[in-house]
Structures are given as structure tokens and as C-alpha cells.
């Protein structure tokens, strides 16, 4: 790279680190004129602004938050090529920042490398140690480090709660979402230095992922009071109660089906380490087709890797067999008959809830919430008789 000319920066990745670089550039720049452009601007206009000096010889900082556009065959398209062509002519009094511009063009990247710097930051952080590569940081370390810079302390368990709250069932967490959650947490605790478990629960209690994940935690412990609290918290802030409850029930159906299959395999004598091998053959089906009469189910394929999607990931299955914080492994929280009964109740409840939501068109959701609470009572072992669930029978 040409060391003499480093007035072009291509910043990629999470917002906080990009913003920190931009702030450092601003600080080191002294007096400057700032111009910010995006896809609302024509490339020719942006080009003029890049090439036109300040009347008073001031430095200029030009930030492109999105690609300016050019008209091609009657349509506005990203000005990737025209921008590439002028990169080497950016005057010395101008610092050009390409702020998270996305392109697959290798030629563009090569041109930026020639005349400027590319700074790439992580967009996602891994949640598990065994997936880390190179200098990657664990998501919980991002949390503790970020809070440390704000003179705040959090223990690893609570940091893990925060991460799980926005990335349940995922092996990575989006750092922008995580930083926003941390910002909210800091606003909540104010000047207080130590962050407690209660702070984290209050901040996260309205997030569906957090509710679902905490709900399973409470179900596994047969803690029906906590289940009810979480459901109330969830519906209090839900934009569409019906949609929220249906989402939770779908998630329950998925989880307790998996638990039942794991238990079934255990009963048949399959060792814990071999369970993944058996279940990894189940592929994820996706809907295709426009109208109700033409919907077809076929195996989903990951567009990037072209690999057929699996129904369950290894991490998901592993988590059911592991002791987590103060809780026994989920698989050992239920016996075979309990899981059979739970699955029966869930599979009866789902169509009932969906039909109620459809009929009520979102106006009256009390019955849907009651059904969800009854399902929790079933899971927590408070209802054990099938006759008590006769009301779930479809008319």
C-alpha cells in the first residue's frame, strides 16, 4: 500500500468499532468540513464534492454511509465502478471514509488496498469457546470488556445471560445488537458500577428470545410462578400478543419434540455422544409456493454454502445434555411419559391457538394466553390428566 496516501478508509463490521475509528480520524484532523452522503445522492454530485477543494483550504471529511448511485439503462444502480475510478484522484485535503459499504467486487477492494486502508471488524461474536478462531473474542468477553471501558463490572454468568437473551439457539451473536443492549443496560444502571443479575433480567425481560429461554429454564425447574411472570412480561410489551404466543408455542413444540427424541434414543440405549449422529439426519423442510393450494415442502438449502439445512444443530443437542448454571441437564428433568404427555398437549394446543388467533383477528387474546399458561402447567407437571385438556379439542 502506498504509505504516502492514506486518506481513504474502508471500514467494515460492527458499528461501535467503526464509529470509534471515525471519531479518532475526526480528532486527529483538527478543523475540517464534514459531508455525509448515501444512496440518496447521485455519484456525480458526490464526485464533485470529493474533487472540489474548500475555499479556505480546510480539510474535508467525506463519509459515504451507502453507495451513491448512477443511472444505467434507466435504473439507478450502485456506483461501484465510477467510485473505484476516482479513488486514486481523491485530493490530499480530503479524507474519504467508505462506511460499511458492501460489495463482492474484488477489483474495488484491490483498488482501495492500493490507495488506502481497509479495516474490517467482526460483525458477529462466537458464543462458544470451541468455535473461536485466531484472535476472535468470546461474546461474553465483548460484554465484560465493553462494560469495563464504561467503568462497570459484570460477572461471566450475567454476561452470558445478556448474550443468550438476544441470540437464543444461535452459536453467534450480532455485535451491533449486543452493543445496543449494553447501552440500554448502562442507561438503566446509571452511575452504579456493579451490574447484578436483577439488572440483566429487567433489561431483557421483554425480549422474546429471553422469555423463551428463561421459560424453558423455569419449566425444567417446575417453577410455575416464574413461568407465569415471564408470560405476563412478554405479553405486556408485545405488539401482537397472538403472534408472540404462537411463536412461543411453536418454539415449545420444536424443543419438546427434540427432548422426546433424545429421551427415546436414551431409552433405546443410544449413548449421549451418539445422539447427534442419529438426529443429524433430520433435515429442515421449508415452504415453497405462493397460494395455500400450491405450497410444497422441500429441504432448505443454505444459499451461501449450498449445504442442506439440518433441523437441529449439534450445539442445540449438546445443550440439552449439559448442566447449565444451577440447573440439571434438560433431558434429565423429564421422564419418558411426561415428555409424551407434554408433546400431546402441545400438538393439540397449537392448531387451537392458531384458529383462535385467526378468528379473533388479534382483538381478544385472553384465551390464547390462558392456553399458554395451561401448557406451562402441563410442562411443570401440575396437570397430569388428559381429560383436563379436553377443551383443546378442535370443534
Amino acid at each position: 500500500m502506498n504509505e504516502e496516501k492514506q486518506n481513504i478508509y474502508w471500514l467494515k463490521g460492527n458499528y461501535v468499532q467503526r464509529n470509534s475509528i471515525i471519531n479518532n480520524i475526526k480528532k486527529s484532523f483538527g478543523d475540517f468540513e464534514l459531508f455525509v452522503y448515501d444512496d440518496e445522492y447521485n455519484f456525480k454530485y458526490v464526485e464533485q464534492k470529493i474533487l472540489e477543494s474548500s475555499c479556505f483550504g480546510n480539510n474535508r471529511l467525506i463519509i459515504l454511509n451507502n453507495w451513491p448511485v448512477v443511472k444505467k439503462a434507466g435504473k439507478f444502480v450502485r456506483a461501484t465502478d465510477p467510485l473505484k475510478k476516482i479513488l486514486s484522484s481523491v485530493p490530499e485535503d480530503c479524507i474519504l471514509i467508505l462506511n460499511n459499504l458492501q460489495t463482492t467486487s474484488k477489483l474495488f477492494a484491490e483498488e482501495v488496498k492500493k490507495v488506502g486502508k481497509i479495516k474490517e471488524f467482526e460483525q458477529h461474536a462466537q458464543k462458544y469457546h470451541y468455535r473461536l478462531k485466531g484472535d476472535q473474542k468470546l461474546a461474553t468477553v465483548w460484554v465484560t470488556d465493553s462494560l469495563k471501558t464504561k467503568d462497570k463490572v459484570i460477572n461471566t454468568d450475567n454476561a452470558s445471560f445478556l448474550v443468550d437473551a438476544i441470540s437464543y439457539n444461535e452459536s453467534t451473536v450480532n455485535l451491533d445488537n449486543l452493543f445496543l443492549l449494553l447501552k440500554k443496560l448502562c442507561e438503566y444502571v446509571g452511575n452504579r458500577k456493579k451490574i447484578t443479575k436483577e439488572d440483566v433480567f429487567v433489561i431483557c425481560s421483554h425480549l422474546r428470545n429471553f422469555v423463551v429461554w428463561s421459560l424453558y429454564d423455569a419449566c425444567d425447574k417446575n417453577d410455575i410462578d416464574r413461568c407465569f411472570d415471564l408470560i405476563e412480561n412478554c405479553i405486556a410489551s408485545a405488539r401482537n400478543v397472538g403472534e408472540e404466543v404462537i411463536g412461543i408455542v411453536y418454539s415449545m413444540v420444536w424443543r419438546y419434540k427434540l427432548l422426546f427424541m433424545c429421551k427415546e434414543l436414551s431409552v433405546k440405549g443410544v449413548a449421549e455422544k451418539d445422539v447427534w449422529g442419529k438426529l443429524s439426519n433430520i433435515e429442515k423442510l421449508e415452504r415453497k409456493g405462493g397460494s395455500n393450494f400450491q405450497i410444497k415442502l422441500s429441504v432448505g438449502v443454505d444459499k451461501k454454502t449450498n449445504v442442506r439445512k439440518k433441523m437441529y444443530s449439534r450445539a442445540m443437542i449438546d445443550s440439552l445434555f449439559k448442566k447449565f448454571r444451577d440447573k440439571d441437564p434438560s433431558v434429565s428433568c423429564y421422564n419418558y411419559n411426561e415428555l409424551l404427555f407434554i408433546n400431546l398437549a402441545l400438538n393439540r394446543a397449537l392448531p387451537k391457538i392458531r384458529s383462535l388467533d385467526f378468528v379473533r383477528a388479534g382483538f381478544e387474546n385472553a384465551e390464547i394466553v390462558i392456553i399458554l399458561k395451561i401448557l406451562c402447567m402441563v410442562i411443570c407437571g401440575k396437570i397430569k390428566n388428559i381429560s383436563q385438556l379436553s377443551f383443546l379439542q378442535m370443534d
Partner: protein, 424 residues
Amino acid sequence: MKFSINVEKFMKSLVPVEIIANKKENEGYESAGRITFDVSKDKIVAKAHGGTAAISAVISNDNIPNLNYECKEDGVITIMAEQFMKTLSSFPPSGDITIYMDGQEITASLNVDEDVDEQIQTVFSESGEIKLPNLSSKFKKQATINREIFVDGMDKVQFAMGFEKTVAHYMCQLFEIEKGKARFAAGSGARFAIADIESKNILGANSKQTFIFPKANVSPIISILKNTTSTNITIKESPANVDNSNNPAQIVIDFDEGISLIVLAIDTAIKYPDLNKILEFDYPYKVSSDISQWKYVVVGIEATNTKDIKKEHEMHNANVVAMLDKKVLFMETKSPTKAKRQIKDMKILQQGKTKEPSFCCNSAYILEAYGKGGNSGDVILEFETKEESDDGRVKPVVVRFPEIVNSSKDTLEKFTIFFATSNR
């Protein structure tokens, strides 16, 4: 609340108040579009507050001849300005009307003889009296200037104000005044317009004073002052009172008798760039030509700046070459239709090392240089080339227009535009 008043005089006295109440930048402000009348025995105080500017106007028989104001009952009312002005305009201007509260309605009734049928118009009264920010009692800056000179100067450079929100320090207009001299300037960062006016009617102050008017208020100020009768206006500025949030930084313009226009949302931290750095720079190239010769050349340049280019906000550049040997100023555009035009009889006032010095700039600046600087006399172009610049940063091109002497106003006006070149 009940008073009678002459329609024409009342409407005229309300014009400045209505402009502030209805200025377009008010959108969303709580008292936008409304006027409060504080009616008392000897006067009405009309108040409007548009967020970035407020006004208080005293309307009484003492400062407005033939107003025929008579207060029958004190009171405070608030009305929607637009509807109220329409209501007033529905009566003959020469007539007197009585305005009074009737429940939630305000009635305007034409004063007629008893045997003639009553003619009335009603409007709804609005809730909430408009409260103005506290007027400062101490001002750090104060200057007096002839109203017409001020309006002309502000109007002359208004077009050049900045428009990009990220360079907020150019979304304003500069007014500098000292005894006998005033400077009005505005710019976008890439192009500036400066009007320097000399006149004995510029009373100024003891020392040089600088005022910076925010963009949102420039148009209303010009509109209001164009429609008043004062010979002179007084402009005063005070910083915010940190102990009182209702006493913000403000520029107050006093005109006519009893009217105070309070300009708010001013940023006292803005330091306008030193224009003299450019205006007093000794450029290596100075050429002049008769502005009347620019006419067809400029039309030709403009003709290549098609509707499509403007619609898509593309930029349109022009190359300007001073052919010193031929004494020709050559202008050219290439995007995408072409114009190659010449201004003949160029006079060389100063010349550097290059035989054909040139610069490239936005063609709009060339058009402005022609359109804003009158249509006769010699226009002087001053510029430098990259090779002859001190640090490789080329100074802007300066266009000086012929001085205009206005004997009726007793003014001498020097108008200058300077604009940045493009590194193409």
C-alpha cells in the same frame, strides 16, 4: 375583550407578526400559526413565536396614525393567524370593525349605522397564550443601519447560503458593520457571495460588530423589513443567560415604533471564516472583460446543462481558459453535450508564468457570476494555477463585479463572488 379598530391599519400592523407566525420553518412548533393579542386600554400587543424567531408588536393610536383604536374591554385572545387575516380582509379597508369574544368564538363586526343590517365574521379562539422568551436587558453588540441598505444587502447574498446540514456553520448569513461600512456575506463552503456597502447612512457602532443570522430566519427578516417604514433599524445581540432557560441567546431587531423581532436559535459559537484571506490575496492572474459579452456564452453553457442532468442532480462542470496571447477567455463544457465559447477583448491586469492558465469549476458558479452581478461594466476574474499555488491547494476563483454607485441611497456597493475549483 372588546375593541374597535380601522381594518387597513390593523392589517398592515399585523403583517410582520403574521410572517413570523406562519413561516415555513415553524412546522411542529407548539405556537406555530397563531397570534396572541393582549388588549388593554391604550394598546394592543400582538405576539407570535415560531420557534426560531418571535415578535412583539405594539399597536396603538400613538404609533399608528388613523388607527381609530378604542378599547371597550381588556383581555387576551389567541387566534389562528391565517384565518384571522382572511377574516379582516373580508371587510372594506377603510371601515372600522369591532372585535369581541362571544363564548369560544371571536366576532369581527363591521361598524355601521344602527339602521343598517349587521355584518359579522367569526373565528374560533385558540387555547393557550403565546409566551415570548424574555427580552434581554443587556446586549453585548449593538449597531444601527439604514433599513433599505440592510434589506438590499441581505437579499443580495441570500442565494449563496449553505444547504448541507453537516456543514451547519455555513447555513447562516454574515453581517459585519462599522461606521460607514457594512458587509453581507453567505456561502456554502465551495462558493461565497459578498456585498460590501459604503454609505454615510450606515451609522454602525463605535467598533466593528459581527452578527450571524441563522438560515431559517433570513427570509422572514427580509420580508418583514421590506414591508415596514422605518428609516433605520437597530440590531442587538446578547448571549444566553445560563441562569434562566427562558432567556436564550438572541438577536433583536428594533424597527418602526414598538416592534421587536427576536431572532432565536442562533449559534454564538460559529466563527465565520476570514473572507479577507481570499479577498485581499494577490492572485497571479487577473483578467477582466465586459460583462455584457458574457451573455451568449453563459446561455450556451446553460444550454448544455440539460433537464436530465439537473433532475438527477448530476454535476455540470465548465473549463475556463484565459488565452493571454489571444486576449480571449475560453469556456467549455463537455457533459454530455458540448459548448466551446469565447469572450473576446479580455484585458490582462496581472499575469503569471503560464500562457494559458485555466481552471475547472461547477458551471452553476459561472452562471451565478453572470446573473447576480448586473449587466454592464467590467467584471474581473482572479485565479491561480496549481503549479503556482503555495501548498498545492489552489485558492478559489474570485469574481469582482463593477462597483455600483446609488446616489439616491448614497451608497457604493462592491459585489464579489468566489468559488472553489475542481481537481479534475
